[in-house]
């Protein structure tokens, strides 16, 4: 019925296990991925060109992704965040996130972006198993990372050993 008090609920339990809103955590994951993935040099027009994180379709982050990326520089590339509705417009992004709530965008991303030099990330179910590169799945309230290595290889992306060690490998 009414939703009113969920956040208060969070306060009440706050001193328990660390708690944070789902999409703030996922935004932080996207930020971390930018640090643990190596793109081919051709992906950047210059050594200090921006590293672009794009949200395709529905944006579940609110402003959280912008806030996390603001002012950050990764591997000499300043981070920038964009949102697009058409899959053609995200082909030059470095990371593309599609929301699990937007099945249409998910299918587009899986089709159009596969094999391009784009790190595709989604919380759609079995995203990595379906050919995406990184899937975010929630298990017992915690976010787990699934990586499809062959999709990453096809996109010429190198995923650091640390990320691979922490992730579940699928596909």
């Amino acid at each position: 019925m009414l939703l009113c008090c969920l956040m208060n609920a969070v306060i009440v339990e706050a001193a328990g296990p660390p708690v944070a809103p789902e999409y703030q955590v996922k935004a932080a994951f996207l930020f971390q991925f930018s640090r643990f993935v190596q793109w081919p040099a051709e992906s950047f027009s210059s050594a200090d060109a921006p590293l672009v994180i794009c949200v395709l379709g529905a944006n579940p982050f609110g402003s959280a992704l912008q806030e996390i990326a603001a002012g950050e520089v990764v591997q000499a590339h300043p981070l920038s965040v964009e949102r697009h509705d058409r899959v053609e417009d995200v082909a030059d992004c470095h990371i593309v996130f599609v929301s699990g709530r937007d099945e249409n965008a998910t299918r587009q991303a899986l089709g159009y972006l596969s094999g391009r030099r784009v790190l595709t990330v989604s919380d759609s179910s079995d995203f990595a198993g379906r050919g995406g590169i990184i899937g975010l799945v929630t298990v017992d309230g915690k976010v787990r990372v699934q990586v499809n290595r062959s999709s990453a290889d096809a996109a010429q992306l190198r995923i650091s050993a640390k990320l691979l060690r922490l992730a579940d490998q699928v596909g």
Partner: protein, 659 residues
């Protein structure tokens, strides 16, 4: 110290829109991948965010809390919620109450499962013996102390318990569990999957068999068993539309130590007393998002329950349709309004003593509510709400509330509220017709329902303070002063001549008692280190009833049936990766009177302890051993001498396997 950072973060998030979340973003950014993977995520929609400062006494029992408590039933999982009193009368009945008025039929509490009401209109209490869950799939239990009537409606007088199961997306794959113990055996299995069209679903089945309580002098035993199956499916049809369809069905056999209805001097049900219970429900929900600040929800359910008790047979069918719309008329306001219709079709046929007249009744409740939350100034938030309800028992009920939240800082919230709530009469109070003296005699005393009995009313004054201090310590303090008017009092009235020519001395409920309840509840969470949390709780209540009629008993029982002081202490310790050792201790002061007209003597104070050790062998397999009520061979918690059994020390082993 990420574990503490995220604590501050939540509060900052809560504080106000003005903070715009900079703290949270920058702090999350500093977390490593490992730390991110350790965060418990909460799905919070825009609604929940902006309603966060809605000021109320809220506690949440999370899935992890339930697991680590070792509880295998919902009442047991509620034991450590501040302000609540949970007492087990025997193996299968509990008194579950909030802010006093403990009884097996605690009627001033609203209990919901995935928004489906589970209290019975027969006496407005909950039959806890059929509220079974695969607890692994319960997401959380929210407990709101005090009136929630403005939003939730009648019966949300002293509290609301809201049990939410997980979305099907979060229960994918196979999960199995098995429990073997001295008092219970159970097995459960769930499978979750997804169809090609993106519809997530789960199906589950569970069976348990629980032993009776310690009651060696009784001829009838209270062991019980249940088989339960169910499903839930969730489908995000588009970014704007979400659908949920769920349902379950159960069949149970529940033993009783004594007849559920007994009258002194009259012979009730005898021998081994067993109730055959069954029921099922199906619920559908559609959520549509209009914009970030506006959405609507339409929900409907059908529910039926059947109780074949040695004292009566009860059939209940409920249809409930609910609509809600949330919008932001101005940037400073969030408005929620809704409409609800509920139809209950109840047929209760007494066996021997028990009798309702008429035995069948169809009753309707139509209600609407509106709540407006207004950001007055940056730290001050005012919430105005009311529910207007029409029901076939008491006519119109107007249940407004005013709440004020003051965010003193990002770590401190002060709130206060004044609310009116009504406890609507039950079928028992309206329709009962039982002879309480020899039914063949003349004159005959008769317990009679009456249409004139009106709602019991509450005016509640509450205040609370929440503090997230020092990163390691969190406090949540609530105090309340409740003023009740028109509480039930059983009155002997003027005799009349019945149709058969005999003289009937009627005994009826009248709204003649008034009273007050003063109480406080405290929850303190101390994070000793990342792997060790200690949580203390304390509840106090003092009830005083002014008896305005002939009935001297009822008021005394209400005053005495809830322990004045309750202390709880929990320790949750992650000894090493994969190993947990959890302890919980509780102390209740004496119950001075039991709500039982016949004997009414009290029950001594008691202290009990539970211990749980768990080993996660692989990511998929966990073993645990739980010892419950370890300090005594058996102890008494609640109930009349005839109906209560002592709760025994018990141990069980549990294995869960899920992938």
């Amino acid at each position: 110290m990420p574990v503490f950072i995220s604590v501050g973060l939540c509060v900052a998030f809560n504080a106000s829109a003005a903070d715009s979340g900079e703290i949270k973003a920058s702090r999350l950014r500093e977390l490593s991948l490992e730390e991110l993977m350790d965060i418990q995520v909460t799905s919070v929609s825009k609604t929940e965010e902006s309603l966060s400062s809605a000021a109320a006494a809220i506690s949440v029992v999370t899935n992890e809390d339930i697991r680590r408590s070792g509880a295998t039933t919902i009442p047991e999982a509620l034991r450590f919620v501040p302000g609540m009193h949970v007492a087990r009368r025997n193996s299968n009945t509990w008194a579950v109450s909030s802010r006093g008025f403990s009884s097996i039929s605690s009627e001033k509490l609203l209990v919901l499962t995935d928004t489906r009401s589970i209290y019975t209109p027969l006496y407005s209490g909950v039959f806890w013996d059929v509220q079974d869950y695969l607890l692994q799939d319960v997401d959380r239990i929210e407990v709101i102390g005090g009136p929630g009537a403005a939003l939730w409606g009648s019966n949300a007088v002293n509290g609301v318990i809201n049990i939410s199961t997980k979305k099907a997306q979060d229960t994918q794959g196979v999960y199995t569990e098995g429990v073997v113990g001295t008092e219970e055996q159970s097995a459960g299995v769930r499978y979750g999957g997804e169809t090609p069209g993106g519809i997530s679903y789960r199906v589950f089945a569970k069976h348990f068999d629980r032993d009776g309580s310690y009651a060696p002098d009784r001829v009838s035993e209270d062991d019980w068993r249940m088989t339960h199956i169910g499903f839930r499916s969730d489908w995000d049809a588009s970014a704007a539309d979400g659908w949920t369809v769920q349902g379950d069905a159960y069949r149970a056999t529940v033993g009783q130590l004594a007849p559920s209805i007994s009258i002194i001097g009259r012979v009730g049900a005898q021998g081994q007393l067993e109730s055959e219970l069954s029921g099922g429900n199906v619920l559908g929900r559609w959520r549509h998002t209009i914009s970030d600040s506006s959405d609507l929800q339409l929900r409907a359910y059908y529910d039926r329950t059947h109780r074949d008790d040695p004292s009566y047979r009860d059939d209940l069918q409920t249809v409930d349709v609910d609509f809600q719309h949330r919008l932001a008329p101005t940037p400073q306001q969030e408005l929620i309004w809704g409409l609800n219709y509920r139809r209950t079709d109840n047929d209760n046929v007494g066996k021997g003593i028990f009798n309702l007249n008429p035995h069948a009744s169809v009753d309707n409740v139509v209600s609407g509510f509106v709540q407006d939350q207004i950001a007055l100034t940056d730290p001050l938030r005012l919430t105005l709400g009311t529910k207007l309800e029409y029901n076939d028992f008491s006519g119109f009920e107007f249940q407004p509330s005013v709440r004020l939240g003051w965010q003193l800082s990002s770590r401190q919230l002060l709130w206060t509220a004044v609310s009116r709530a009504a406890r609507v009469p039950t079928r028992l109070e309206r329709d009962i017709a039982i002879d309480i003296t020899n039914p063949a005699g003349n004159p005959v005393g008769r317990l009679l329902g009456n249409d004139d009995f009106d709602s019991e009313e509450l005016l509640a004054y509450e205040a609370g303070y929440r503090w997230q201090g020092l990163d390691r310590l969190a406090l949540d303090l609530t105090a309340y002063h409740n003023v009740y008017t028109g509480l039930a009092s059983l009155e002997i009235e003027a005799p009349f001549i019945a149709a058969d020519g005999r003289t009937v001395i009627p005994v009826v409920n009248r709204n003649l008692n008034d009273g007050t309840a003063d109480g406080a509840a405290l929850l303190a969470t101390f994070v000793v280190q990342k792997s060790w949390r200690v949580i203390g709780s304390y509840s106090y209540v003092n009830i005083s009833i002014d008896r305005g009629g002939q009935d001297q008993n009822r008021g005394r029982f209400i005053e005495g049936s809830t322990p004045r002081h309750q202390f709880g202490l929990r320790s949750l310790f992650d000894i090493a990766p994969g190993w947990q050792l959890d302890l919980q201790l509780r102390h209740h002061t004496a119950i001075r009177k039991i709500p039982d007209i016949v004997t009414g003597e009290g029950i001594e104070a008691y202290t009990e302890m539970d211990l749980r050790g768990a080993w996660r062998m692989t990511r998929d397999v966990e073993f645990s051993i739980v010892g419950q009520n370890l300090l005594h061979d058996h102890h008494t918690e609640f109930g009349s001498v005839q109906a209560r059994g002592q709760i025994e020390r018990s141990v069980y082993g549990k294995i869960t396997w899920g992938f």
